[in-house]
Every structure is written in structure tokens, then in C-alpha cells.
Symmetry: C2
Subunit: 340 residues, 2 copies
């Protein structure tokens, strides 16, 4: 296989000059450039991409920050982001923040230390003013997470409206005593969802008993605990918004062991349309986000920013979602006049 020395020899130029051409550096005349490219073609010389990467200070690597990979929503998001990044010749590394502010900042450092060229934040735990300074080290795009700020591009669905629609669906199924489960961390998404939930209750003049709000539910075993808590302290509960298919699955599982009937005793609604929501008996009503489309847009925007430092206007891309109604909420046929 031809080496850079072979190219230099055939072109009658120095190794340094050849290296300059390979790495698109200035100060090489057009005439010399032509001779070198000609020699490279003659010899079938292919520059070593990792060596080029080292010299050019570019890593061709994107970091994706997310809360945890064990949540299948983020697993699928990673799959889609990688597929899209790969089309643009970027490799992806995944960084779990566990919703910890310090971990999120540690991973943002990868931009400063030039370990990556750009970052997708699918986790956003810090206040924006603590994240913003990292934009001077390289481009960042928010995916799924969002905030009411400028200065960064965002790709997401309207979580407030999705929670509103889900809650309205529960109310139209006859639920009157609604519980609300969420994770502990008050991200912007979490606040938006809660607002949508409360708006729907207000619209139908239903009260909300804040004792039926549980803010520590993340996974299947938390879902089991949610059910035990409600059964013991609020047996009048007849519907629950969980914001998570895993929490919903835990509730369905625990309910079946306590001989509660889903959905007649308790209607349950998840979020994200994970495979698990379909496999449960009964299958769980959920909200589906267009992950593939969101991932494609995120990478498109980030690659544009990585290629062109002067770029570009920051924009917000809001994607549509879909409420998928399954047996865990079908207390009676959905009225054909339903607005959903």
C-alpha cells in the first residue's frame, strides 16, 4: 500500500507539503496541489482517516447526553441518532447523566477538551445559564428536552399538549379521581406535562388532590410502589397519568396481583409507546413520539453547525405525536364525537 512518502517522492515535493494538502491546510500553491493529487491517484493512496483526524483536531465524534440508557425511549433515540450520524460519517458516543447536574457538566467538558466535535443534549438538568457557556467550545442541539430560551436549536414534541390530551382521554373514559406520577426531577418537560394535566382537569371542573401526586416514579418497580401507595391511601383512585410506559407496566403488574381490574377499577396511561406497553396484559395506552424523524432533524441541524462555524440561525422544531388507545384505558367505547 502506498504511503505518504511514496506520494511525496512521486510528486517531487516534501512530506510536509503532501500532508498540508491532505489536511486542507493553506500555503500550498494550486500547481503543487495538482501534482500531489495526481500522484495520490496514480498510487491509489488513501489518507489514513484516524491519522488525519489526529492532525486536524477533529474527532468526527458526536456525544449524546441522556438521562439513562435503560429507558427504552432513549435506547431507541440513540439507535436513530447513530444511524443518521453514520450517514454523515460521524461516530456517536453515549453519555448517561442520571439527571445529575455535575455529570451533565462533566460530559459537556468533552467539547472543551476536544474529545468530541458536537453534542446532542437529550438530558437537560442544569439551568440554561450554566449550559450556555459551553456553546463557545462547540455546537449543541437539544433533542426531546427544551426550554423557553433562544440561542440553541431544539427538536421536540409539545409535552404539555400530549399530557392534556392523555388526561382528557382518561376523563372521557369516566375517570374522576386522577393520580399523577412523574420522576423526581423538575425538567422543563416535567413542568409542561404537569401543566397540561392540570389544564385538562380544570377544563372538566375536576379537582386535583395533590396527595395523589407521586414524584419519584421512574421504572417498573416504582410503578409497583405507586400502585401499593394508591391502593392503601387513596383507594378511590380510578385513573392515573404516569408519563412512563415502565411505571404504567409496574402498575398493571401490581394491580393484577391485587385483583384490581384494569381499566375498570383503574385506567392507566403510559408514555413513549415502548414494546413493553404492547406486551402487558392488558396492553397499555400510550403516547408515541416520532423518534426517527426527531433524530434525523437533530443530526441534520448539528452537522450543519459542525461544518460551518458561522452558522446558523437557531430554530425550534416541534413534531406531532400520537395517542395510542389500548385496553388499559378502554372503560367504555370512545365516543365518536371525541375531540381526540
Amino acid at each position: 500500500m502506498a504511503t505518504i512518502e511514496d506520494v511525496a517522492k512521486l510528486a517531487g515535493l516534501s512530506r510536509t507539503t503532501v500532508s498540508r494538502v491532505i489536511n486542507d491546510q493553506p500555503y500550498v500553491t494550486e500547481e503543487k496541489k495538482k501534482r500531489i493529487i495526481h500522484a495520490m491517484k496514480d498510487l491509489g493512496y488513501v489518507p489514513n482517516s484516524s491519522a488525519r483526524r489526529l492532525r486536524s483536531q477533529r474527532t468526527e465524534t458526536i456525544a449524546v447526553l441522556l438521562p439513562r440508557v435503560t429507558n427504552p425511549f432513549f435506547g431507541h433515540l440513540i439507535e436513530s441518532l447513530e444511524r443518521e450520524a453514520s450517514k454523515a460519517d460521524y461516530q456517536v458516543i453515549v453519555c448517561q447523566t442520571h439527571d445529575k447536574k455535575q455529570k451533565e457538566l462533566d460530559y459537556l467538558q468533552l467539547l472543551k477538551t476536544k474529545q468530541v466535535d458536537g453534542i446532542v443534549m437529550a438530558s437537560l438538568t442544569n439551568d440554561w445559564e450554566d449550559v450556555e457557556p459551553y456553546l463557545t467550545s462547540g455546537p449543541i442541539v437539544l433533542c426531546n428536552e427544551y426550554m423557553r430560551v433562544d440561542g440553541v436549536s431544539m427538536v421536540h414534541i409539545d409535552h404539555r399538549q400530549a399530557a392534556y390530551d392523555s388526561t382528557t382521554h382518561l376523563i372521557r373514559q369516566g375517570c374522576k379521581h386522577l393520580a399523577y406520577a412523574s420522576g423526581a426531577h423538575k425538567t422543563y418537560i416535567a413542568l409542561e406535562r404537569r401543566a397540561g394535566f392540570l389544564e385538562a382537569l380544570a377544563k372538566y371542573d375536576l379537582p386535583f388532590d395533590t396527595d395523589m401526586e407521586l414524584d419519584w416514579a421512574l421504572d417498573v418497580s416504582d410503578g409497583q410502589k405507586v400502585f401499593q401507595f394508591l391502593k392503601e391511601h387513596h383507594p378511590q383512585v380510578d385513573g392515573i397519568f404516569t408519563g412512563s410506559d415502565e411505571v404504567a407496566a409496574g402498575i398493571v403488574y401490581a394491580a393484577s396481583q391485587s385483583n384490581w381490574t384494569i381499566p375498570n377499577d383503574l385506567a392507566v396511561i403510559g408514555f413513549d409507546n415502548q414494546m413493553l406497553s404492547l406486551l402487558m396484559v392488558p396492553a397499555v395506552t400510550t403516547v408515541e413520539q416520532p423518534i426517527d424523524e426527531m433524530a434525523a432533524k437533530t443530526i441534520e441541524v448539528l452537522v450543519e453547525k459542525m461544518s460551518d462555524k458561522r452558522s446558523s440561525q437557531n430554530r425550534r422544531f416541534i413534531y406531532p405525536y400520537q395517542l395510542i388507545i389500548r385496553d388499559s384505558t378502554k372503560r367504555h367505547p370512545v365516543s365518536s364525537s371525541a375531540q381526540l
Copy 2:
């Protein structure tokens, strides 16, 4: 907050000398070192770790290579590896290989380009002779994956014996027509499991119809296809080793829709004791690996290698596993004289 300049001023030495001490560089006399450390303590000066990282050429980052994060086994492995790495002040980045040889090599390059200090391979798709050269750039430890080679430390269970025990359990439950499902990729683990399966059949003088071997089953929807295929072409099937809780879940789900009774019409065994295996109706018999212990040992060995370049003897750590028997295989009470 005190700066490096403040320290230099108080110690009466140059900024460069202070920097040398902070970064453990040579050519500073013990006397000057003492003055600087004294000044740092007086001022409460804490060196900026990311700046130090940049200068020291160390990244304090470990890359974990794995096939895919959507497989919950790897999700949990990552959780454990991160927890352990964090105790040793390393951050973890996750790299999905999708069982692609080139992707695996691309991520191994992170060692050469100094984007990470060490690598855990929980994916091993390439022949060992293609991986081995990367050991000259930095330490690598195999976790879960293994091979019959020296020159690298490995942490894993005995997959051959686990498959043997699983298959023996199916046979003792009265299964006579066993099917075998696996992923397409012929890793060493896959070969070991298949060998254990065949050994158990041979021990009980049962034939194996290779038409009942399916080598493209990775996830829940593949499991559904496995069931459809067997139902159509091999309706005599009465037991299946899947090597995957997700594939097992897909089989259980599809069987229930076709009115086959699990386990009496078909006994199903998974692998990894994922939450899903417990949530299915009926719950799925599975093999549990001690993920936390394996992760702790992996990080311990890797950190030792990263701290001491001359280290160290390569060793193989083989962990015990547990067969967890649930309703998906309980065709009749397990005999008390069972060897399992």
C-alpha cells in the same frame, strides 16, 4: 477563588513552576515543591481538573463497547460499570457496535487518538488478532465476551454450562422436540451456548433437528416470528432455548394470541433475568448473571491497568450464574432429585 497566579505570587515562584507541580512534571526541586504546596493550602487553591486533564493528556474517560443499549442486559451492565468507574473518578462513554466489525475497530481507535484512557469490550465481533494490536495504545478488558486467548483479562460466566443447565431443565420437564434460537452473529459466547445445548441433548439421547434452529432472533418482534415459523413448519415443537428474554417474551406473546398454552404446549426459556421476563404472563424462566459483581471486577482490573503501565498479569474471572425457574417451563413439578 484563588488562581494559579495567586499561588505563584505567594510562593515567590513562576507560574510555570506551579504548573509543573500541579501536573506532576519533573525538574522541580523538593524545596520549591514544598513552597508551592504550602501556598496552595494557604490559599485553598484547587487545580481545575479539566485544564489539568488537557495538559496531562489523560482524559479520565473509559469507553464501553457493546452491541446495543436497547438490550436491557447491556443497559444494566452500563449502569453498574458507570457506578464503579465513578468511584475511581473515571467517566464512561458508551459505544454501540451493532455487532459490526468495522464499527468495533472505529471505536477501538478512541484509544489511539487518546480520546479515552481505557476500553471495556462487552462486544467482540472481530477476530482477536485484529483487536490485539490496539493493546499497544492502551488497556482493554473483556466483560461478558470471552475467547480462548491469552494477553487480555476477561470477566464472564460459563455460557456453555448455562446453556447446558437450561436445556437439561427443559428436558427434565418432558420436552422432546427442542428448538434453538440465537442471534446471527457467531461470537464465541454464541458458539459456547450452542455447544452446551447440543451436549445436553446428547446426554439424554435426544436428536436435534437443525431445521428447528433459527439464527436471526434478537428482539421481541423476532420472537413473534420464531413462534410463527415453528407453529407453521414444526408444530411438534414443545420446548425452546432462546438465549434472550426479549425473544422469549415475543414467543410467549405470539403463543397467547394463537391459543397455544405456555408451558404445556411449548416451554420457553430466556436469558439474563430482565424485568420483562418477570412481567410476562406467564413469567419466563431465565438465567441470571451477577452483573454488578462482574462490572466491579472489570473496572477494578481496568483501573489497575490504566494506573500502572507495566501492569499486570492477565487473568480470567469466571462468575457463577443462576437458573431462575418460572411458569414458562413448569410443565410438572421439578423432581426433588433434579441435579439442577
